[in-house]
Assembly symmetry: C2
C-alpha cells in the first residue's frame, strides 16, 4: 500500500492510496509533469516501465492501450469520488465513505474480509487524505464507534450504519465485464 500526494505550503493533500495491482504514475508520464509524489506505506513491489516504452505499448498493442485507458478512467472515478467526499460531506460521512471504498477495493483483490482488513493508516495520514486535522479525525472516529483503526488494521463494528452514513455506491470500482 502506498499513497500519492501533493505538497502545499498549508500541508499535504493525499490524492489516492494505490494498492496491489494498481497502475501508478501514468499521469506523470503522459503529461510529462512531476507535480505530485508517492510514498510507500508498507513494503511494496514496484514494476517500473519506461515512459517511451508505454507509448509504444499503447500504439503497438491496442488492447493494452484499451486496458490502460480503462485503468485511467477508474483512477479518475476514484479521484472524483474523493473530491465529492471532501467537497460535500461532513467529517463523519467523509470518513465513513473513505473506509467503505477502501474496504471494497481491498476486498476486490482478496485482501479484506467483510468487516476487517489490514492497513497501516495513522490518523495523521487519514487527516491528510480527508482534508481534516489529525485531532478532528480522532474525535470523529471515537464519537460513534463505527470502526477502529489500530495496530495496522481496521475493524468495522457496524457495517450497516457505516454504509448508510456514507451513501457509498461502489459501481465505479468494478471491472464489470
Amino acid at each position: 500500500m502506498a499513497c500519492s500526494f501533493k505538497l502545499l505550503p498549508g500541508g499535504r493533500q493525499i490524492i489516492s492510496f494505490p494498492i496491489a495491482g494498481d497502475v501508478v504514475g501514468l499521469r506523470s508520464v503522459l503529461l510529462r509533469t512531476a507535480d505530485h509524489s508517492f510514498s510507500a506505506l508498507t513494503d511494496a513491489v514496484v514494476n517500473a516501465v519506461e515512459g517511451p516504452h508505454i507509448m509504444r505499448c499503447v500504439t503497438e498493442f491496442p488492447r493494452l492501450g484499451a486496458a490502460l485507458l480503462w485503468a485511467a478512467c477508474r483512477d479518475e472515478a476514484m479521484v472524483v469520488e474523493h473530491l465529492v467526499n471532501i467537497g460535500r460531506r461532513t467529517a463523519l460521512e467523509r470518513t465513513a465513505h473513505f473506509f467503505m471504498e477502501l474496504a471494497e477495493r481491498l476486498h476486490l483483490i482478496g485482501q479484506a474480509a467483510e468487516t476487517e482488513f489490514k492497513c497501516p493508516l495513522t490518523q495523521f495520514v487519514l487527516a491528510d487524505a480527508l482534508g481534516l486535522t489529525a485531532s478532528h479525525v480522532n474525535r470523529v472516529l471515537r464519537e460513534r464507534q463505527l470502526l477502529t483503526v489500530r495496530k495496522g488494521s481496521v475493524t468495522i463494528h457496524d457495517l450497516a450504519a457505516l454504509r448508510k452514513l456514507s451513501g457509498f455506491q461502489g459501481g465505479y470500482l468494478n471491472a464489470r465485464e
Copy 2:
C-alpha cells in the same frame, strides 16, 4: 461551457467545467456507470459518439487510443488539482486558483484575454464547484476586489496578486509536444 456534477443529499458537487474541445463522459462509457450528470451553461454543440464505437476506435486506431488516453490523464490531473484545492486551500486561495485555471484553459483555446473572459458563472455555481456556499463565495469575492464576476464575464483586476495567492502551476494543462 458546461459542468459535470454529482448529486448528493447535502447538495451537488461540481466536478469540472468542460469547455469547447473537451471530451466528455468518457468515464461513463468505459466504466459503464452513470454516476454523474452534465448540464450546459451556454449553448453548446455536442458531438455524440456511441460507446462500442469508441472501443473500436481505440483498438483499430491506436494513435486515437493514445490521444484519448492523454485526454483522460489531463482530465484526471484537473480533478486532482480540484481535489487539492478543496482539501487544503482556504476559500480565498481556492477561488483564486479556480479562476487562474479557468483563465488558462480558456486562453489555450483562444477564448480569453489576459485579464478578461466571458463565462456564465453565478455565485451559486461557483459555490457548488468550490465546496462553499453562495453567500460565502460572495463575501470572498468582495473582501478583496481581485476580480469581478458580472453579467457573464470575468474581469481580473490584480493578476499578480491572484497568481501569488493561488499558487497556480498550470503545467498539467498544456499539450507540450
